[in-house]
């Protein structure tokens, strides 16, 4: 029994199709086209040249920058996964009332709805030369000189990433865990599984979809990031986003476009590797 005509479906999907068509698909198409254009000191113009790609892929700087960005993504993934899994496990299996689950879940979620930039800035009083950590460590006599590596370093960048994106791991993993049939856990325990065995043989395999979705979020956010590396690295650290943004601010659009296409390809490859584990659509 279906009352819907194809026309009403068409009407319903046209707003989102038009918006994504014009502001997502078309822009990416434009980037693809412009990546073959040529440019001089003043402007960029239609052409068909491969120089933007040969410049991008022929430069050692590009590879170093990618390695650096992978390093950030890898570390951020590892820490957000460990934290996200533990927090989700606590909420799903150790909190037994729905009311408390909702309360604690909201406590984790609220920062996500506030400004990322403010959340980054908020580390400055902690990590600076005269920041909370250095003062604390000095006063208990652990160090004599303030630690310089805390702020404007790889350390502060990864710390900020973990701080910003841990929630993207917590939510999908928690979601997966809540769907695990509790009788499976009981069966495992009845079958003699210890805590650790239950974790590795029952919980983790059943959480794979959640882990995959969280990983996609974290990896793509870090790979395309510009502002965290710029702000927390004090302008001294490189990432793919920062490299692209430097070209954009020099108005070298075709060069930036070529880098954008490469970045998109890299991100899509990473996502498709992760998606192999999971059927996304089933998870909703």
């Amino acid at each position: 029994m279906d009352h819907k005509s194809p026309l009403s479906t068409l009407l319903q999907i046209s707003p989102i199709s038009l918006i994504l068509g014009f502001f997502l698909v078309l822009p990416i198409g434009t980037i693809l086209i412009v990546s073959f254009w040529d440019y001089n000191d003043f402007s960029f113009f239609p052409d068909f040249v491969w120089t933007n790609y040969s410049d991008a892929l022929g430069s050692n700087v590009t590879y170093k920058t990618y390695l650096n960005t992978f390093w950030y993504a890898g570390l951020t993934w590892l820490f957000t996964f460990l934290i996200g899994f533990t927090v989700a496990y606590f909420l799903a299996f150790h909190i037994h009332t729905t009311r408390w689950q909702i309360v604690l879940f909201l406590i984790c979620t609220i920062p996500f709805w506030t400004s990322n930039i403010i959340r980054m800035i908020s580390w400055i009083p902690f990590l600076g030369r005269n920041g909370v950590f250095n003062t604390m460590l000095q006063s208990i006599g652990l160090i004599d000189e303030p630690l310089e590596f805390l702020l404007f370093s790889d350390f502060s960048i990864v710390l900020a990433f973990v701080h910003l994106y841990a929630l993207f791991m917590v939510v999908p993993i928690f979601n997966s865990m809540m769907r695990i049939d509790r009788s499976l856990i009981e069966a495992a325990i009845d079958g003699g599984a210890h805590g650790w065995q239950m974790l590795t043989n029952v919980v983790i395999p059943l959480c794979k979809p959640g882990i995959a979705i969280g990983s996609i979020f974290v990896v793509t956010l870090v790979m395309g990031d510009y502002i965290t590396v710029r702000l927390m690295g004090g302008g001294q650290r490189a990432s793919v986003g920062v490299m692209m943004w430097n070209e954009i601010s020099l108005l070298l659009y075709p060069a930036a476009a070529a880098h954008a296409v490469v970045l998109l390809a890299v991100v899509l490859i990473m996502v498709s590797l992760i998606v192999r584990v999971v059927d996304l659509k089933k998870e909703l």
């Binding site: 822009p27 920062p111 909370v132 502002i227």
Partner: protein
């Protein structure tokens, strides 16, 4: 029934506590430091206690263009919120059955989340540049924000409708309700709370959006762009004062959303069933 809690419970509780401290610690430091005395700096210790830096924000030597950029972000956020709610809802309704191209549209929407924001920004900027249109927060900026908020709203609606019990609708139709009546009087009240959630996502994601706005807002900055500009040239606690204000504003919006949710639930409970009460 009280079972003895395993030792792991206490370890995990401690871990969770540390996580909450990690989430909220830094922002509370900003909150405290924004009340620095007039001679205070960007780090502890507190050098007196005042609201000097809040005045500096609004005062004569205005630091940046905070007020207009806030109003701009507020307006943009509300527009994005309204559009996100309506469009996600109608798209969600369409997705309750398969149609030609539904997979394509689904994956395009998911792609909108996955594509690095800097690409969206660059691509829209390029189109406007090539067409010789002027980028502005009301056109290119609005579109860029929607590419970020719509997927969230859409995925929430898909999840909601996947769990939606269709027998309510069938009952309404059996009782002679038209399509429109079914949606207004049956579907919308049931999914109302989720729509509040979509609205909250729509507003806050737009209000805080940075990367997709970077090349698409034109000469007029939104608040996050303004704050980012301040981080490079403001070296006083004014920055923290601004952080405190916008965070409180975000919290206000979150609490409003939760208040509405709570109200809806209460109303639903009290109106829950009129079975046996006659008409």
């Amino acid at each position: 029934m009280h079972k003895k809690r395993p030792a792991s419970f206490y370890w995990l509780t401690a871990f969770f506590g540390l996580f909450v401290l990690f989430l909220y610690g830094p922002i509370s430091a900003i909150l405290i430091l924004s009340f620095q005395g007039p001679n205070g700096g960007l780090t502890f210790p507190m050098n007196g206690f005042s609201i000097h830096w809040f005045f500096a924000l609004f005062g004569e030597q205005l630091v940046g263009d905070f007020e207009t950029s806030f109003l701009r972000s507020l307006q943009l956020g509300l527009i994005v919120m309204a559009l996100t709610v309506v469009i996600s809802l109608v798209t969600g309704l369409a997705f309750r059955k398969k149609f030609f191209g539904s997979n394509l549209l689904f994956y395009t929407t998911v792609a909108s989340l996955i594509v690095p924001s800097i690409l969206v920004s660059l691509g829209i900027g390029l189109i406007f540049n090539i067409m010789d249109w002027e980028v502005s927060w009301t056109t290119s900026g609005l579109g860029a924000h929607l590419t970020w908020t719509l997927p969230f709203g859409f995925l929430i609606m898909i999840a909601v409708f996947n769990r939606f019990d269709k027998s309510y609708e069938e009952a309404a139709r059996d009782l002679g309700a038209s399509n429109w009546q079914t949606i207004c009087h049956v579907v919308l009240p049931i999914i109302g709370p989720s729509l509040i959630g979509v609205a909250l996502f729509g507003f806050t994601l737009s209000y805080d959006e940075f990367a997709r706005t970077l090349m698409t807002s034109g000469v007029k900055n939104t608040l996050p762009l303004e704050i980012f500009g301040m981080t490079t040239n403001v070296t006083t606690p004014t920055l923290y004062a601004l952080g405190t204000l916008t965070t409180f504003f975000s919290l206000f919006m979150i609490l409003t959303a939760m208040g509405v949710l709570f109200y809806l639930r209460r109303r639903q409970e009290s109106h829950g069933s009129d079975a046996g009460k006659g008409v």
